[in-house]
Structure formats: C-alpha cells, structure tokens
C-alpha cells in the first residue's frame, strides 16, 4: 500500500502543482470580481508584458538554481543592458540590442569564471558583481534616466505580430520553449540537475562540471541582459535601478515553480507558473487599488504560502 502510494509520486507531483494552480485561479477570479478592469484586454496585455520580461530572467535563474548556485546579479545586469540600449540606440539603432545581450553574456561568463576558478561561492561572486555593475550603470548614464526613442527598438516590446501577440510575448515564448527543450532533452539540462544533486555524480560521468557552471551563469547573464533590453523598450526609457526588482523576483518565481533552492530538483517548465503568480498578484492588487504597504505585506505572505505548497520540504534533511 505504501509502495503504491509512493508509486504515484509523479501524480502527487502534479497534485501539488494543481493546488498552486488552483490557488492561482481563485486569485484571478477574486481579482476579476473585485475589479472589472482586471479582465480587460489592456490589463491582460500589461500582465503579459511584465510576465515576458520576468520570465526571460527567471529562465536563466532556473538553471543556475537547479545547479545549487544562485545569481544575485540578474537585476544589475538587466539595468545595465537596458541602459546600454538607451545609450546606444540613437547611434546604432537596432544593433544596440545584440550588443547589450552580448554584454549581458559577458557579465554572466565573468560571474561563472570567477565562481569556478577562484572557488568563491556563487552567492558572493554575484553579490560583488551586482554591486560593481550597479555602479557601472551610474557611470554610463551619469545617474540620469534616458529615454529610448528609436522606434525599431521600442517595437521589440511594444509592437505586435498581426496586432494580436505582442512581440515581447513572442520572444519570451520562443525562448521559454527552447529552454524547456534544453532542460529536458540536452546534456546541459541533465547535468545542471545532476550537479545540483551532487557534483560527484556529474564528475564521475566524465563531465567537466566547471564548464557547465560557467555556461549556466553565462546563460543567466544573457537572458538577464535581454530582459533588461525588453524592459527598457517596453517602458520607453531606462532608469538606473529599473531591473533591480528582478533579482529577488526571479528567485521567487523559480522556487514557486517548484525548483528546490538547494538545487537538484525541479525544472524550467514550471518556472512559468511562478512568474505568472508574481505578476498577476502584483497587477491585481494594483487594480484593486490596495494601499502599497498592504500590497507588499500580502505579496510576501502569498509567496511564503506558494513556496509552502510547492516544495519538497519533508525530504530535505538540513534546511539552511
């Protein structure tokens, strides 16, 4: 009997997700009833856009967290790359976008190389680079906000394919699809999970653990950069701290999506649940015009509840 109930682990996994999704549905229904404007096309579009940005950054964060590492520089990298696009686009136009993404990739790779070769824990490496990059944002912007005026760049986020699907959504959907494929069906995806479980396992398979670690952090930097670019394009301007909310929101999204903060368990597919959870809640509370202080209190509580529903707490031996 015990064996049978354990055997249904996959189902119970789904069951646990189902509870999260159920809570999510109830929240949507409550928002919809409480504020008629919640269900309008304009609002749904707003949720889609903010979800797209956060999803991109969270995808990168998922692989890093699956490995048992963490990237605290996502917000700073996003701010920097957004600002870089604002700064370069008057001269370079659309070319500023790939340049900003490459810069994000380089930041991520630096994180990875320092982490691996100087053997400093990822949390400290990225805490350090986050501070440095935040300083660099001030440097390239003189501490001011810059507007993004190039129509081609703005179109990346605000334009829409056939006037239905916003470009930002399209971009993040394609990358999400690719990430799911990478997570489930490539060596990189398998090995991030194996490393998070125990590095020795991956090492015994003849895998260069360090290479995978650098790749994961570089990917995180690249996607954080792209998220920053999309954010700047969507807002039509870049501010020095515009991406900083992403650092903690990505971690929350990943964990609500069921990935263990200690690594070794979870996958990128479910990160989208965490992203929608965060963006819908914050949007819904805005529409309901709840006082901002109360919003923060509720958001924190809801996140704790979501984590409670969604993680394998019982199986963790030491909770740190």
């Amino acid at each position: 009997m015990l064996q049978a109930s354990r055997a249904g682990c996959r189902d119970s996994e789904l069951g646990r997700r189902a509870i999260t999704i159920f809570v999510f549905m109830i929240a949507i229904a409550a928002f919809g009833l409480g504020a008629p404007s919640f269900g309008t096309l304009a609002n749904i579009r707003a949720i889609e856009l903010s979800s797209s940005v956060l999803l991109l950054a969270s995808i990168g964060a998922t692989f890093v967290i699956l490995m048992g590492s963490i990237d605290l520089s996502i917000g700073a990298v996003a701010s920097f790359c957004g600002m870089l696009v604002a700064r370069l686009s008057p001269d370079l136009g659309l070319w500023s976008v790939p340049i900003a993404c490459v810069v994000g990739l380089v930041f991520g790779a630096i994180n990875g190389l320092v982490y691996v070769h100087l053997r400093i824990p990822s949390i400290l490496v990225t805490l350090g680079t986050a501070t440095t990059i935040s300083g660099a944002v001030l440097f390239i912007s003189d501490g001011r906000s810059l507007s993004v005026s190039n129509p081609a760049v703005i179109d990346i986020a605000q334009g829409a394919l056939a006037n239905v699907v916003p470009n930002a959504v399209l971009i993040s959907a394609v990358i999400y699809g690719a990430a799911v494929l990478i997570g489930d069906r490539t060596r990189f995806g398998r090995m991030t999970l194996a490393i998070g479980s125990d590095e020795q396992i991956a090492a015994l398979m003849g895998v260069r653990v360090n290479t995978i670690k650098v790749q994961a952090l570089a990917l995180s930097g690249l996607l954080a950069g792209l998220a920053g670019v999309l954010l700047a394009a969507r807002l039509g301007s870049a501010t020095v701290t515009m991406g900083s909310y992403m650092t903690l929101d990505t971690i929350t999204a990943v964990v609500v999506g069921g990935t263990a903060i200690t690594g070794g368990s979870g996958n990128v597919r479910l990160t989208i649940i965490g992203v929608l959870f965060i963006t819908t809640f914050s949007d819904g509370m805005n529409i309901l015009a709840l006082p901002p202080y109360l919003q923060t209190i509720i958001q924190g509580t809801v996140i704790l509840l979501a984590v409670l529903l969604n993680t394998r707490r019982a199986s963790a031996e030491d909770v740190k």
Binding site: R185, T186, G206, G264
Partner: protein, 513 residues
C-alpha cells in the same frame, strides 16, 4: 569484577532495522563498573549500530536497556549524555572554530549564566582546566581554538568533555563509548591513548570499537563478537586472543549457490583487459595487477588499507594516488583527465556512496540510466530522444530486474538494491569493457544482492573485466576469480580462487590484520 558487581548498563534482546532490513538482532550486552568492553566483528556486523543504540542516536525497534539500575530509554544523544553516557565520535563532534572550553560546555552555557544573562567564562575555563589536568592533559589550553589542536588532542578533549559532562549531571561513573578512536592517529598516539584509557577506567567504563583486533586484545577486559547483526560469542580475560576472535568473527559456511560459483569462468589464455603498474600515493604503495577479459578480480583488506584508493586510481576519480600507470588496450591513461579518458575507453565505476556519487534521486530511472550515455539516446537533431531513452531504460529494467513502476519513476523511491541496479545499468548502457565496483552490495537486501551477483556473472561471460573492491568477505571469496589482499597500502597476499578451491575467510583475514 564480573559476577561481583552488578552491571551498570545492560541491553537485552535489542534489535534494529533500517528500511525493514535487520542490522542487529537480539543483542545482549552488559557493561560493568571500571570495565573496558569491546565489540568486535566484520564490517556490517552491527557494531556501530549497537554503539549508537547505547548512545541514544538510534532507538532499538525491540528489546530493553537498563542504566544504573533503572530502565533506560534515551530519546536522543542529549538524553544519554544526561544519564551518563558519552560518545567520542569518529567524525569528531567538536566545532573547530570555538575555544576548547566552549566546546566542552557547548549547550550548557545556561548553567554558567548569571542572573543578568552574562556567561561566566572564567568559571567555564577554570572547570575545563581542572578536568584537563585531572586527565593529564594540562598542556591543552582551554582558551585556544579547538581547531589548533591535532586530531589526537581533539579526541582527548572529547574524552575530557565526557568527564566534564558527567560531573555536571552528577554521574560518578560515566560510560564512554569509543568509536574507532585509533582510525586516524599514529602508533605513538595510540599508545598514549591506551595508557590514558587504562588510567581513566578508575573513574569510568569504556565501550570500544576498532578495526584492529590486536587493540581489543591489548585493551579490553571483555569482548562481544558480532556476526551478521547477532551476538556470536563473548570472551573475557584469558580467552581473549586474536585467534579466538578471528574464529568467532568469520567462519561462516559459504553458500556457493549464492554466488553462482559454477558460472565462474576459467580464464586460461584470455587477453588482458586492463593493468595497473606501481600505483602509489597517499595510503597506497606500489600496487600492480592486471585483469583479464571475463575475470573478476577481488581486492580485500580492512578499512583504511588503501583498496578504495586503488579503485579510484583505476577509474580516475579524484582524489586518487597519482603515481603509477593504468593501461587499457595498450594505451596508458593520462594523469590529467584520467576519469574522462577512462570512461571514453569503456571503464565504468559503481562508487561506494550510492546517494552522493551514484544516482540523482530526483531524476527518473530512465534519466539516471542514460546519464552516462546521452549521445547514444540522442536523435539526429542533437536532442535526447525520449523514445530511445525509454527503450534503453526498459531494456535494462528488464535485464537487471529493477523493481520500479516504470522508467519515469523517480529514483528516490527505489530501494537501495534497485538504486544500485540503476547505477550498474548506467554503465551497461555504455557497453563497458571494464567495470570497477566499490562495495556494490552495501546496504542492499539479500535478494537484490544475489541479483547483482548474477548480473556480474553475466557481464563476466560477455568478457567484461571486473574489479571488485569489497569489505564483505564471503562476497570477495565467492565472486572473485583471483583475490588480492591489501594491508597498510601494500599488496600483502594474492591467491587464485577457482570455483572448486576457494580460500577460507581465515586464510584471507590473517593477511589483513
């Protein structure tokens, strides 16, 4: 002493199971005042488990314990300490960054706290000093960082801590449990330790576990011998000798059916699959051997004899002894990146720590099985093909009789034996030519054990060369074509073990100790 005084501690009919597997069964054990008691037995005989039951770390599933004339049912180690039992942990339970006195009174700070909440450090230091001096350890400064002291001194600090705690809880005559106290210290320190223990016995009783029989003989007043989790002998005074302990520890009737010895190949003229020359490094001195195709070469020896390091050197699993060469199909494996090169040339490794080195618990059975051979299950697009992966998993689930609900079940939910089969399947999927196994059946139940043996026989018949490093003597003898015995890092003894002429456990053990 025996018979005169009543035992201060006694255990009756105690049993302990883990996951339904009995580790110790029906154990009786007494400790008298001022006595040094030994628990001897092979690896896996249940010595450590018994010690942990006495210390309150494992609760027995059945049976009873009495301490100082009262029923004793500790719920935790802390309870046992309060009742007068302390353990000197093999893995050392002191926090290196704290001062010695802080470690001695760790968690008892409240007893030294004044009304306004300030800890009276001077009193703690003075008491620590007194205890250290009483034990002849005056050279240890209680104010210094514990980590500054050598392993041996830290061990003595743990003993001092045991006495300090006993006094604190008003216990006149504590029982101190020593779990392999000599495993990590040199001959000189062992001598000092033993002299100290003999002196301290005026104030305490000791229970000792060690891997060296000679130490039991030297130190103990009375010895219990365990075999397969049962109490098989008790020796006191004059009866204690290495020979008598040997005889009781081993001497099990070997079942040749169990190891399928009739399927053992004779290997006249079989080509050499892998050879090692002059492997040397820490704990390993000049070990050379070769394994033929289809041969099972067993390496035995006590824990710490260096046999695991030899296995690691062959597969290139860091850290391994760096000197010497490993040759495979006429090619010498490189020193740097040996692990990768070994895998590429068809060497597989089933490590000892299944949980941390073998399986990924939150991955499915199929994902674990394909982990070493991802290119084989990839489609032309470069992505893993689910259907190929599934077919591969189904093949090995059937072949190794892995009991699971299907290829997608998480490995976490499999029993130890089935997890081990998944680890083996991982290498079979790669078509290994050489398989190195380190204690492949540790923590595996009897049925699954035999299935693993059957797989090893299959592989040998297919021409795979197998290196079996094991602490399990019957397994070593039953499975191997040839046996090497190591002691203190050196090859001590080699014998062939044909199906019709297997060496006895005694023959091998005499070369181990």
């Amino acid at each position: 002493m025996n018979g005169v005084a009543a035992p201060i501690y006694s255990m009756r009919n105690a049993s302990k199971r883990f996951n339904g597997i009995a580790v110790v069964e029906d154990i009786d054990l007494d400790v008298f005042p001022n006595e040094i008691v030994g628990i001897a037995g092979e690896n896996g005989a249940g010595k450590s488990t018994t010690l942990k039951m006495i210390a309150g770390i494992h609760a027995p599933n059945a049976g009873s314990m009495r301490l100082f004339g009262k029923s004793f049912r500790p719920l935790s180690y802390t309870h046992a300490v309060e009742a007068g039992i302390s353990m000197v942990f093999q893995e050392q339970a002191l926090i290196p960054s704290l001062a010695v006195y802080e470690n001695i009174f760790l968690s008892l700070e409240s007893c030294f706290t004044s009304r306004i909440g300030i800890v009276d450090r001077a009193a703690m230091i003075a008491m620590s000093e007194r205890h250290l001096q009483n034990l002849g350890l005056g050279y240890i400064d209680p104010r210094r960082r514990t980590g500054d002291y050598a392993f041996y001194d830290r061990q003595m600090i743990e003993i001092a801590k045991a006495f300090a705690l006993a006094e604190h809880f008003h216990i006149d005559h504590p029982i101190i449990l020593l779990d392999e106290p000599t495993a990590a210290i040199g001959e000189r320190e062992i001598k000092i330790l033993f002299e100290s223990i003999r002196r301290y016995r005026r104030r305490a009783s000791f229970v000792l576990i060690t891997h060296r029989l000679v130490e039991y003989v030297e130190l103990c007043d009375r010895i219990y011998v365990f075999k397969d989790g049962r109490n098989v002998g008790e020796f006191a005074g004059e009866e204690i000798s290495e020979q008598s302990l040997h005889r009781a520890m081993v001497g099990r009737i070997r079942d040749d059916e169990y190891f399928m010895e009739t399927r053992q190949l004779s290997l006249v003229g079989a080509p050499i699959a892998i050879s090692a020359h002059g492997l040397s490094g820490q704990n390993v001195k000049n070990v050379s051997f070769e394994i033929r195709k289809g041969e099972i070469l067993g390496i035995g020896g006590l824990v710490g004899c260096g046999k695991e390091a030899v296995a690691r050197a062959v597969v290139g699993f860091e850290p391994f002894p760096p000197n010497g060469t490993v040759e495979l199909g006429g090619e010498v494996l490189p020193l740097r990146g040996r692990g990768k090169a070994a895998i590429k040339r068809g060497v597989g490794f089933v490590p000892k720590e299944r949980k941390s080195e073998g399986i990924v618990p939150y991955m499915s059975v199929q994902a674990n099985m394909s982990l070493a051979s991802l290119p084989l299950v990839s489609s032309l697009s470069g992505f893993l093909s689910r259907s190929r992966e599934r077919r591969l998993a189904e093949k090995y689930i059937n072949r190794l009789r892995v009991r699971c609900n299907g290829p997608t079940q998480l490995c976490q939910f499999l029993s130890g034996g089935n997890q081990q089969k998944v680890v083996i399947a991982k290498w079979l999927a790669r078509n290994v030519q050489v398989l190195v196994l380190d204690n492949p059946t540790r923590g595996v139940d009897v049925g699954a054990k035999q299935e693993i043996y059957s797989v090893l026989r299959d592989l040998a018949e297919e021409g795979v060369a197998i290196l079996l490093v094991t602490d399990d003597l019957p397994e070593l003898i039953g499975m191997s074509n040839r046996i090497l015995v190591m002691r203190d890092g050196e090859l001590q003894f080699e014998c062939s073990a044909p199906a019709d002429n297997k060496p006895t456990e005694q023959e091998l053990v005499q070369h181990m100790v």
